[in-house]
Symmetry: D2
Subunit: 209 residues, 4 copies
């Protein structure tokens, strides 16, 4: 990005703050075994993002926020293969019982937390997530997970489109390559979501009485 | 992007070709007056992308492909403002009769072509586009328009998620800044869509008898 | 419905109460000129339902509830005709400027109220309604309008599917024929929504301080 | 329904035929153990509808049509309970491994047929069904299953809204009570779908060469 690039966004009024609303929730996107492993879908800065997300999850639970987790899950017989798996056929390995598609042990969902099975990039696409958040009167979605340039980005765009104030936990998202990670943080911050570290998110929340 | 970055995508099986199906359609995203004007939402390489899209539109019409156009349209009284307009308040200027939200004269929709009004980034989000394509048995969506890092990207992700084979017409999409343009072409090519120039698209279509 | 019919629903545990939540909104479905006119889409008990809805709308505004109104709107050139207009071609008369598709004068939207244009039966289908309600933290949707067996029913099913507690204002919904009106109230009350009169809704709301 | 009732629909232009398109698919809604059992969710004319659906499924497979099956599936811990389960709490018994939520043995999905897990009424709501049909260029959806007044009706409305030509296989849909069955067939036939018996569907299809 050149200085001129930043100027054009500023001049056109992009990059304002949507802010933290009254009722946040946390969604953790695709932190499953296969995305923690560079031999499968992982790499880059995903490992440190997982470590930070462990702390963010503990904070969210202490606050009593609704928490949702996503997994990519395709049918055992590949009957639900589609356009995505033409571009990235290895996704078809992520079946219900595949070790690769299991949520990481350090982020194991607690009872009552939602586990979203998805075939697409966005945590919202063809899933119960939006209704689950509506039922809990959530107005702000904090997004952690991977990859920044893939399922996190798609989730953030949909979260904004569903009219949730959206926050990307910048140190809790990771990608297999750093240039797409950075480029997508820029796009999201300019147009779809606020960018905050885990520490900034914690500091922005009023203490619970 | 480093060489290592490209290698990791290749090693993980990304970047395959989804291909041209049997029944393509063209969607032209947000080529309206305000996005052609650097004083409002334009700039960068949007002008040459418009010029190439004029040719692609003529080709699509000659082939008899369904064609859809999108406009961002907000209510005159701002009653439908939401999360997107918190981040980018200037979008609220794009009302039904605002000169800024009118489709460019050189791309004027022909009778029977769909004009999609949208409030979000994706041409599919809360719009009739997917049903309109279903009704015409479309299986492949070719995407032109702007911005590459914004509404084009969001449209491409949703097109793939709706299981259309998706093609980005690389010389028919533009952005206000070149770095996001390039970064988003990379992401889309690796995971969501095939990247083809207008000339490659034309050459890939069998002549009509 | 026979007594046995009612028994089977009771025995299978249907017909429970979903209740009034903390933050209601009102949606008024398709109370436009053409649906008030028996020569076009009206008839039956639609006229008295409109009269009651005038009172319910006044109550909702006094409470400060979000209010949305829907209209069926097709493109002037019929370019967005589809499966619905194969079954009911007369819907294509309902264009943006047609007198038939204008909201009734006694229910004119106030500034800030949402006007939803739709091509389908449900007020939610391909419209911004769900995001608009999310942005306002609504958890309960009260539904008035017409027809009970058509767009009201479809809206109620989607409202429940989007996980809003849903209430049909029984004296504020009407249909061109009474048997479908009654049959659909039964279905909705058993499975999707609570049935309450305008007076019962008013009585269930705590006074605002 | 009085004679006058039928007249008003005819006079207003409802009840036209949307017809059989070029590429049909079959969806079988919720023919699972619990809905075949009057002690749980069954009763009425569901048993004969299952028997007819066995024949329709054989025909669809012989034609090479895409086939999808739906099941209601809630999380084991009830974490995805919502508005629907407030109205009908017994649905929460339908978990992934519950005997009640297993597809009937006589309708066991063949490899490559889609099994849709859903929490709502419609087979389309928050499920991959629409993309799966798009990927196969389907333009016509034939609906069997139960209940006519519940998940069949909701699926038919969404099928029409997604712009599929829609056909209710009248002898392959059933309900726990006959009055709602009949009332909903009437509504669907007037506004959303063609009503055809299994025999009429078979006869309308050109023989495959």
């Amino acid at each position: 990005m050149t200085e001129t690039d930043h100027e054009i966004y500023a001049r056109q009024g992009m990059g304002q703050t949507s802010g933290m609303g009254e009722a946040p929730a946390l969604v953790i996107v695709d932190f499953v075994v296969g995305f923690a492993d560079p031999a499968h879908f992982g790499g880059g800065n995903i490992a440190p993002a997982i470590a930070e997300t462990v702390k963010l999850l503990a904070f969210a639970r202490a606050q009593g926020w609704p928490v949702a987790h996503t997994r990519v899950v395709y049918a055992d017989d590949g009957s639900d293969a589609g356009a995505f798996t033409l571009k990235a056929p290895s996704l078809l390995k992520l079946t219900e019982t595949s070790p690769l598609s299991q949520i990481l042990p350090e982020l194991t969902p607690a009872p009552g937390e939602l586990v979203v099975r998805k075939r697409g990039a966005s945590a919202f696409f063809d899933t119960p997530l939006k209704g689950w958040l509506t039922f809990r009167r959530v107005d702000t979605l904090i997004v952690a997970g991977c990859t920044t340039s893939g399922c996190v980005r798609a989730t953030v765009v949909d979260s904004m489109q569903h009219d949730f104030r959206t926050i990307v936990a910048t140190d809790c998202v990771g990608d297999r390559a750093l240039a797409p990670h950075e480029a997508n943080l820029f796009d999201m911050g300019q147009k779809y979501a606020d960018l905050m570290t885990h520490a900034q998110i914690s500091a922005s929340v009023r203490p619970r009485n």
